[in-house]
Symmetry: C2
Subunit: 421 residues, 2 copies
């Protein structure tokens, strides 16, 4: 008689395994009951459970982007260095205040960057192009187009717009725009809780001293840290001996007491230990075991099951394999459970083709905001042009492209590295 | 008379600005007084303030990496499919236990993956190559070299070794190895605290309702989230009007009460507001202002100062510029303050040249651990070979290279993407 470990001939590819897992989980049920209200100060990397609509315009008033003089653009038409125009200064705008005066033809008011344009004006002439003639009069030496050097009252955000969508993972600029519209508390999905069970007769607690043949529990700690890294909460369930009744009791405890939204069993390294996990998962509930064995090295003896809408992962006992398999199968789960629309977050930098020319001055580093999109399996980066004072541009952007100090621009079709937010 | 904003003609390059900042800070003083003891469960991304030495070997006993029979390798020499050898089975090793028997020539003991080899044995024959003859005897059909299918008692870690160095930022596998040697509490540097002061007469608190000309405080929130992202703690100091005496009082409060290790002033957008910041920083203490204006777009009007060993950053008021400048100058600071040896962490993926051939079987995804190093400004990846059961390999590695399902290996000199831990 030959004693042989059960052969793992029908291994599943990683893509197929992920497909099976997603198809046997009902994310909607999870999302309905797992919502909470939090302060935006605590909201980094949390995922919105509702669309966010702005009820106000931003900035809410016509705002200067330069230090200079607020004017009627019409008063500057035709003006040049050799043909200046003269305007009467009727006042100065104080930062944070609504101007108490109105500007008529031939008049101007002194204004700082961020100041509110007075009624009657639609442009700002920069200080550099202004000569003060006397206390009350200035000479302007450059024409301005209507709304030049101005952010219009609804240019950053328009009242009624959806500014952030349900399922969006909040980045620093998203938290900024929420502050900008006065939403200091928001509803998000709860952080998923993931239970970790270590199995193996040879495993002892890290704080204990091993006898010969025993090994301290390493996987609870590496996996706990991996769970924290993916913005979820680890629930440490300790060590279970390789006995069906004990492992079954521990898993049932997590499911019945709703202690976690997913379970990781870090397997003992022996076939015997794996067989215990397989037998327990096989009879625990529907649909049960979906995957036994994956075409990944290291990490082949991986088990994936779903019981009562709870995903259960049987990871290999070796710490290296366990971490690699975690990164392939468990890492995405936190986002799925919360219905995140963002799939790219584990790679903070991505190569893309720039879809239009970008000009840049040599002698300075330039950071261009871009929107990333894919077409036929390839990433493209579209530059987002616009005033740097607009927070909404930063919210639309996926990341930044850096143009080095001594580079004069980037041609359409070039490869660029996009540093994702 | 021409009124002109102070021109920023002598802008500093980003590299020069970072050089100036580093040279005017005394990181040692900071590091000496900012240490604390924490549980390894809370230690992800924290930075070690002491070298960690292991006092024990890991695994601590000769451990099987396969299910099979522990034997004297010498008993298998010359053995093959057509020329099997016969051994007497004298016992079975139970997981987590020290075998109570010794193996002599011509004897074997049944063992599982992770089990302790009995005295007298130095190799394991895999189950696949064993035929059970009767209750007490087996036939082996393959020879094994000494220590084949075994992790020797000190192969993962040797007692006395430094396993992690002072200044190292802890990743999941590092936390795992600390658990493996029983170090459940460790000393780390405290998280830096970074104060945020918003300035500008037009800025109001996010919870308040703006009048015309007023804008809610966005930068405190975007910068607070950026600080959290870099594993530091934001200290929100609220909004200050553009008055020298008020800003000076606020900064002195932070310095004198030791509320933070660095200060960010998110400037009002006007030149007037920036001038207030400049004047205050100029007379606050030594060395004072180091940089005024950087060759970065957007973000030119940046101020960098050091006062009493506290770095102070005057960021532009525009939210977009403020975030970009934060990412260039403030992000690295958290690591410097704690003396981290790791500079790459903001880019989770990096291109490198593989420095030796890697074989891989088609039909499975393979993840190869690599050590990243640079030579003449170029990154190279060196594969770390070794048993996947060794946690120390994962600690030595900088990241993983994925070899796709249908690729049969990677040739020396090829470009690979290294996914950093």
């Amino acid at each position: 008689m030959t004693i042989m470990s059960k052969p793992l001939l029908n291994v599943t590819t990683p893509d197929k395994a992920i497909y099976l897992l997603k198809n046997h989980l009902n994310f909607e049920t999870y999302k309905q009951k797992n919502r909470e209200n939090i302060s935006i100060k605590d909201a980094l990397n949390r995922i919105l459970s509702k669309n966010i609509q702005t009820l106000i315009n931003l900035p809410g008033f016509n705002r200067s982007t330069m230090d200079g003089y607020a004017v009627k653009a019409e008063d500057s038409f035709g003006v040049s260095e050799s043909l200046p125009s003269y305007l009467k200064v009727v006042g100065e705008i104080h930062m944070g205040c609504k101007p108490e005066f109105k500007i008529d033809m031939g008049e101007a008011a002194k204004i700082s960057t961020g100041g509110m344009l007075p009624d009657g004006t639609n442009a700002v002439v920069m200080l550099e192009y202004v000569e003060q003639v006397d206390d009350k009069n200035i000479e302007i030496r450059k024409s301005v187009a209507p709304w030049e050097n101005v952010v219009r009252k609804d240019e950053d955000l328009k009242a009624g717009e959806i500014i952030l969508k349900k399922g969006h993972k909040l980045r620093p600029q998203d938290i900024g725009i929420l502050a900008g519209i006065g939403k200091v508390n928001i509803e998000v999905y709860k952080k998923p809780k993931i239970a970790i069970i270590s199995t193996g007769n040879e495993i002892i607690a890290a704080k204990d001293t091993p006898d010969f043949g025993q090994i301290r529990d390493i996987n609870s700690y590496t996996l706990g840290a991996c769970i924290l890294e993916m913005q979820a909460t680890p629930v440490y369930k300790g060590i279970v001996k390789d006995e069906k009744v004990l492992l079954e009791k521990k898993i049932k405890e997590v499911i019945e007491k709703k202690e976690a939204d997913a379970i990781i069993i870090s397997g003992g390294s022996s076939v015997g230990s794996r067989d215990v996990t397989l037998e327990v998962l096989d009879k625990l509930g529907k649909p049960g075991i979906l995957v036994h064995g994956v075409s990944v090295k290291p990490g082949k003896p991986t088990i994936i099951a779903v019981v009562d809408n709870i995903p259960i992962f049987g990871l290999p006992g070796h710490p290296v394999s366990a971490m690699i398999i975690f990164n392939i199968f468990v890492r995405a789960l936190s986002n799925w459970l919360q219905g995140s629309d963002w799939q790219l977050e584990s790679d903070k930098q991505i190569e893309a083709e720039i879809d239009s020319n970008i000009a840049s001055d040599s002698g300075r580093e330039e950071y261009v905001r871009v929107l990333l999109y894919d077409k036929e399996g390839k990433y493209y980066a579209k530059p987002i042009l616009g005033k740097s004072g607009l927070i909404s541009n930063m919210v639309q952007a996926s990341g930044l492209v850096k143009i080095g100090l001594n580079i004069e621009g980037v041609e359409k079709g070039s490869k660029v590295m996009v540093k994702l937010f």
